[in-house]
């Protein structure tokens, strides 16, 4: 492949509280390659290093050893242009409260574009656009106070604030945790569209395998500070030995398909969506005529 990756991380290490009795090695030589326009999922258990890894992407943590190159910029250099980097790489953290600091929703989302020195009209347009992307009604919500929002709404506001910066690379830590089913599906659709239509590079950390199956082009599995496995969702979710070895969960649909294969039925386990999985199961019924071979259920 000749395309130059937009993110190149090689053999990255990080130690928290180095040189103290609390010293903790969070990254032990991890790698990550992302090409422009890709949508990448990072999965792995709590403490596997996912959050530490993504904090390197916009220079919140500087590489201790190893290579971090973001869009051609080597972050191991002494002097890096953090301002430009952070405009390029927008991170939405797991806890939305960490990044909402204005009292009014509209002000909070406008904060970034304002700081970029954009004209007021453009700021307003961006806020409007970002709110529509996350599914917040501009007129209804722009003047509301941020503290009175529910957890799910705060998550949307935090994401809108980052989108308003129009980053080239969007990094999301558990984007849909705490969202209701409809908001979750709508947000995933929007992220997918931003990725496919606007060629936004997306990297997201998730424990929700439905979301990984639906969104990701490729998946990185982290364990104990290293990337232990990577591949397409299909490659990952159909390799039972690896799923078990790395304790990776699967979408509920795939779980059902595995249960059926355990019972000796021949079904493919790479049918992720409800309809695909149902179709796969109905292939088992192929020999049966619909409702004619047996008596109607009482």
């Amino acid at each position: 492949m000749t395309v130059k990756p937009i993110i190149e991380i090689e053999n990255l290490t990080h130690t928290y509280m180095k040189g103290t009795p609390m010293e903790h090695v969070a990254l032990k030589g991890t790698n990550l390659y992302v090409e422009a326009g890709e949508c990448i999922a990072i999965i792995g258990h709590t403490g596997s290093g996912k959050s530490t890894l993504i904090q390197h992407l916009n220079g919140l943590i500087r590489p201790e050893s190893g290579r971090v190159v973001i869009d051609g910029e080597d972050l191991a250099k002494k002097k890096i242009d953090l301002k430009t980097l952070r405009r390029k790489v927008g991170i939405v953290f797991q806890n939305p409260e960490d990044q909402i600091f204005e009292k009014i929703i509209g002000d909070d989302i406008a904060y970034g574009p304002f700081k970029m020195g954009l004209p007021l009209k453009e700021v307003r347009e961006r806020v409007k656009w970002a709110m529509s992307v996350v599914g917040l009604d501009f007129e209804e919500m722009k003047d509301r106070q941020t503290f009175a929002l529910s957890g799910g709404q705060k998550r949307k506001v935090a994401l809108a604030g980052i989108l308003a910066l129009k980053p080239k690379i969007l990094v999301l830590d558990e984007p849909t945790a705490g969202l209701d089913p409809r908001s979750r599906n709508e947000l995933l659709d929007k992220i997918k569209r931003l990725n496919k239509e606007e060629k936004l590079t997306v990297i997201f950390v998730s424990h929700n395998m439905e979301e990984v199956a639906m969104l990701a082009d490729r998946v990185y599995v982290m364990a104990d500070g290293k990337d232990v496995l990577s591949g397409t969702p299909k490659e990952i979710f159909t390799d039972k030995e690896k799923l078990v070895r790395h304790q990776i969960g699967t979408p509920e649909t795939v779980q059902v398909l595995y249960r059926l294969t355990d019972l000796g039925y021949q079904v493919r386990t790479d049918a992720f969506s409800i309809t695909e999985a149902a179709d796969e199961i109905m292939k088992l019924f192929a020999g049966r005529k619909e409702g004619t071979e047996h008596v109607q259920r009482i």
């Binding site: 709590t46 089913p181 979408p251 049966r288």
Partner: protein
Amino acid sequence: MDPIIRLENVSFSYKINEKTKVSVLKNISLSIFPGEYVAIIGHNGSGKSTLSKLLNGILTPDHGEVWVHGHNTKDTNKKRAIRQAVGMVFQHPDNQIVATIVEEDVAFGLENIGVPREEMKKRVDEALNVVKMSPFRHRPPHHLSGGQKQRVAIAGVLAMQPECIVFDEATSMLDSFGRKEVIQVMRQMNNMGMTIITVTHHMSEAAEAGRIIVVEDGEIVMDGTPREIFKHKQELEALKLEVPSVSQMAEVIHRQFADFSRDIIHEHEFIGEVEEFLSGGVGS
């Protein structure tokens, strides 16, 4: 039987700016009885989280009363008795873990209320046992997985011997393994007689409960068993909710094969239905 928690015409509103108040809960009446396992579902902003915070007096209503074992949650003298009766587990395990060693964390609440040493040890042992975290008792909590941390947090609440535990989206930050672990613990505690109330966005988790309460725009719009509630697929979708994945799959299959039951809410039921269907046992 007297309810353990009773809400009587409860209303609650947040002030959103100088002039406007948004009413979050509107005249809700609700009784939860000892030994029940209740799931509360509703979309973001429906009021379910506010509702859960009213159950042990973290919030008190603007209008109406909340009674826990006959104590009014507005009665500040009864705060301790109320919190003792109804414990809470929150979304982020990290926000609830205070000590540097698992067993010390579980003992923290007991130390605060001055439980004697022997009794404390016994209760910590029991609580860790229920959540299956005994082997980890001497470990620092920060290296545990999300599910393990959440089980430690549950043990801390359990050690206080409440009669009821409210889980406020306690599984939403967990992967499918962690969620299963926590759901198993909920079920086990319910089998031991404890009242369980869980606020969740996971329909397969709500299906585990004995009763589901659906909250919409500050009001209770459905209240029934999971099987009754999940029959209302369209209504739930209109409320930004859904039915469990296995119910959705059964529905798709039912459209092609009318004899395949769509009345399915659990994974084991779905598998059973496939097996029965294939063995030709259906209806014969």
